[in-house]
């Protein structure tokens, strides 16, 4: 198939395999992002050194540079489709989708964050991904008017659907305290990031309105106020160490500037950060 207009699609295909091939499917890692969707049969695949069994309707998501294949190199009987997209990992170890994508900057950030989240690489019962792969192949084959745009849209659709599926998988819908705890952990792990409510809701696997409502009733705060809480609590700890500059503290705890840090800090505590630091050092 003609892939020249799509340099970011490294490979796309479907295999119908009617006999076992020894050495047909060894473990290997590549630079891009791969999705495998099982249509028929039962496949035992190893992803990043963990072994999974996939049934029809299941999809495997393989991040760049993760090993994937059959532990015994065997290609089992059945059929599956796959796509291999070029998605880079930038210097901050974040995924970065190429300029072909029409995801908005906010959506791009959320989707990448979720794809990189610590989740199982197998998405069970995910026929949406199979349908999209089929759609891309049909477009490539027919080359009707607008097919270049359509294919890139379908790729975006695939990434969006995958991240939604992961977000839904990450909670059971039963234990909000645990979901909230996980969210808190992720916020703290990346406090310098300018979190939006939409991103936080996506991590919790909830629609934004429901997320707002649940966080408010559980914590007493809106999600952004809760986040400011964490930012200031961390800033207080850093202010007690004389070796970090106020600007570094501001950026490390997620304020846009030392001015923004100072105003927010003062509104809550009555002290400017430098007064707070001076006071604390005096106690010595």
């Amino acid at each position: 198939m003609e892939l020249r207009p799509f340099p970011h699609i490294m490979e796309i295909g479907t295999i119908k395999n009617s006999a076992i091939h020894l050495d047909g499917f060894p473990c290997a890692s590549t630079g891009g992002f791969r999705i495998f969707y099982v249509q028929e049969g039962k496949f035992e695949w190893t992803i990043d050194h963990q072994t999974f069994i996939l049934y029809p309707g299941d999809a495997a998501l393989i991040l760049p540079r993760r090993e994937f294949g059959n532990k015994n190199k065997v290609l089992e009987i059945g059929s599956f489709s796959w796509i291999h997209i070029e998605i880079r990992i930038n210097r901050n170890k974040e995924l970065s989708i190429g300029s072909w994508s029409s995801l908005s900057p906010g959506d791009h950030c959320e989707v990448c964050k979720i794809l990189q989240m610590d989740h199982l690489p197998v998405l069970q019962k995910f026929p949406e991904s199979g349908a999209i792969l089929k759609g891309i192949q049909t477009e490539l084959f027919n080359k009707e008017i607008g097919y270049r745009t359509r294919i890139n849209h379908l790729l975006d659709e695939l990434l969006i659907q995958s991240s939604r599926k992961i977000a839904r998988m990450s909670n059971s819908g039963r234990d909000f305290p645990i979901t909230f705890m996980d969210l808190e952990r992720q916020l703290r792990a990346n406090l310098a990031h300018q979190w939006t409510v939409e991103e936080m809701a996506a991590l919790a696997g909830l629609r934004t309105t429901l997320f707002n409502e649940k966080v408010k009733s559980y914590s007493g705060f809106s999600p952004l106020s809760y986040l400011i809480n964490i930012r200031i609590s961390e800033a207080i700890k850093l202010l007690k160490r004389p070796d970090i500059s106020l600007t570094d503290i501001a950026l490390e705890t997620g304020f846009y500037s030392s001015q923004h840090f100072s105003t927010t800090f003062r509104k809550l505590t009555g002290y400017t950060p430098s007064q707070f630091r001076k006071n604390h050092l005096r106690i010595k």
């Binding site: 819908g173 234990d175 609590s233 700890k237 509104k267 505590t269 009555g270 007064q275």
Partner: protein
């Protein structure tokens, strides 16, 4: 118009209430603070996050409710959960997170004391059960496991002492919180030399010991400005959540016992004498000189019913735990008392009073082919309350009580309070939409301000509006089932130990 603010530093939430001088609630807000479990038996909270959350909630209540209505805040009275410990260095900076009551890392230190003559002596002087919850055991753990850190510690604070110090600069702890540390001789009201030696610390490493009515110094200028409070706002050190829940329910003397069923649970009595229990099953906390709150705590309160609901609720809407609990309760109420002979031991979190067995585990017992899901639901609730009853029953070996008062978000659910009345066969009083800990703190502040002559008088003013009388018909089947429950909970102790060994290989 004048008002009193109470601040409860609880395990899950900071609750700020404002009362007018007659004790009518003007407004309230809460803010959540997480508990971190870096290891399975660790439970920690971030002291600075608690401080900031407290400020944030207080500020919101002031700005949204009190300042617009031109209330003058006369007094802010604190209460907090017990048994927390926070080491700080010589600059007063926390050396890591605070260790909360639920932390079990000091299991070995507590066990070592419990089986010794020294332990018996310490329990008799301090009134705190020898358990990993107690700061005594936790400090000993830090000494035994983190010597380098231990050497740098300037003071061991409670979370409340830290918050007060941030606000006013004073290091103080009140009698109630101090009497829950295992470090205080509750008869002499002095730090106990045996405990000091075991923990490896000196009294100078603890905050100043003061009565609950003490003013904790003046609010720092910056907070006066940011909160819009005047310099003469009284900051009262206040007491503990357990003592305040008891006072807030109007219990001040003999004849009444107080039951709390929140996530965990407790049953308490108040009196002028310590309960000296040979088996060391009860706590004795000091409210004021010669006034003790005694009783026993259970780990397995409402949190167990919440767990049950999460597993067996339908969850048509994500995270709608309240609705699912109500649906399960509706199913349970159709089943007769005794759940058709199905018993539940609720020890999913191990147990404190009265069996004090960290290895205890949950059990459904007596299942037959006719039992349905609704039987399980009812048995789960009955099991949680049999456990409260088992503490109450042992408590009655020391103290008589004719009636009960109940509080807590689970305790005040109709099915829970009626069952408690029926199992104990005693009348129960309670009040819906009433927060006993906060009201207790209001009473404490109001007494300090002279609105009441004494805490007894303050307690008498409490009106628990709802009276539930026991249903005699249910009492008998409950007691027959309870007897088997009681036997099982001790009989299974070696099997509990064996299964725990499999759960933690």
């Amino acid at each position: 118009m004048e008002c009193i603010i109470t601040i409860e530093l609880g395990t899950n939430a900071i609750r700020v209430y404002a009362f007018d001088l007659n004790g009518i609630t003007i407004g309230s807000l809460k803010g959540y603070c997480p508990t971190f479990h870096s290891e399975p038996d660790h439970s920690e909270q971030d002291p600075d996050q608690i401080f900031i959350t407290m400020l944030y909630v207080l500020k919101n209540l002031l700005n949204d409710v009190l300042h617009p209505k031109k209330y003058k805040v006369l007094c802010i009275c604190f209460s907090s959960s017990m048994h927390s410990i926070l080491p700080v260095d010589k600059t007063g900076s926390p050396m890591g997170n605070a260790i909360t009551w639920a932390d079990n890392r000091a299991n070995k230190e507590a066990a070592q004391l419990k089986n010794s003559a020294l332990g018996k002596k310490i329990y008799n002087s301090t009134g705190t059960p020898l358990h990993p919850m107690s700061p005594l055991a936790k400090i000993a753990w830090i000494k035994n496991n983190e010597m380098a850190k231990f050497k740098q510690v300037s003071k061991f604070l409670s979370l409340k002492s830290y918050i007060l110090q941030q606000l006013t600069g004073e290091y103080m702890t009140d009698y109630s919180i101090a009497s829950a540390t295992g470090l205080l001789n509750i008869h002499k009201i002095k730090w106990d030399p045996d405990s000091m030696r075991f923990a490896g610390i000196k009294p100078s490493m603890l905050p100043d010991l003061v009565p609950v009515f003490t003013r904790a110094g003046k609010l720092n200028k910056a907070y006066q400005t940011s909160l819009g409070l005047s310099a003469d706002t009284k900051i009262l050190v206040g007491s503990s959540d357990g003592c305040m829940a008891t006072l807030g329910d109007g219990v001040s003397g003999e004849g009444v016992a107080n039951i709390t069923v929140e996530d965990s649970g407790a049953i308490r009595v108040m009196g002028d004498k310590v309960l000296q229990d040979e088996k060391q099953r009860f706590f004795n906390y000091l409210l004021t000189e010669n006034r003790y709150v005694s009783g026993g705590p259970t780990n397995n309160g409402g949190i167990i019913f919440e767990w049950f609901t999460r597993q067996f609720g339908d969850f048509k809407n994500p995270f709608d735990i309240e609705q699912n609990m109500l649906e399960l309760i509706a199913q349970a109420s159709k089943i007769p008392a005794g759940s058709g002979g199905l018993l539940f031991l609720p020890y999913l979190l191990g147990e404190r009073a009265p069996i004090w067995n960290a290895n205890a585990r949950g059990v459904f017992f007596g299942l037959n082919i006719t039992h349905e899901k609704a039987h399980f639901v009812r048995a789960a609730i009955e099991g949680i309350l049999y456990e409260i009853y088992s503490i109450g029953k042992t408590l009655q070996e020391h103290r008589n009580f004719k009636s009960l008062s109940i509080n807590g978000s689970f305790g005040t659910l109709p099915i829970f309070s009626q069952m408690i009345a029926d199992i104990f066969n005693k009348p129960v009083r309670l009040r819906q939409n009433y927060h006993s800990v906060s009201y207790g703190s209001y009473l404490l502040a109001a007494t300090e301000m002279g609105i009441y002559k004494s805490l007894e008088e303050a307690a008498k003013s409490v009106k628990l509006t709802e009276l539930i009388t026991p249903n005699k018909k249910n009492h008998k089947p409950y007691i027959k089932h309870y007897e088997i429950f009681e036997r099982l909970s001790t009989k299974l102790s070696s099997e509990f130990a064996d299964i725990v060994a499999l759960q933690h290989p």
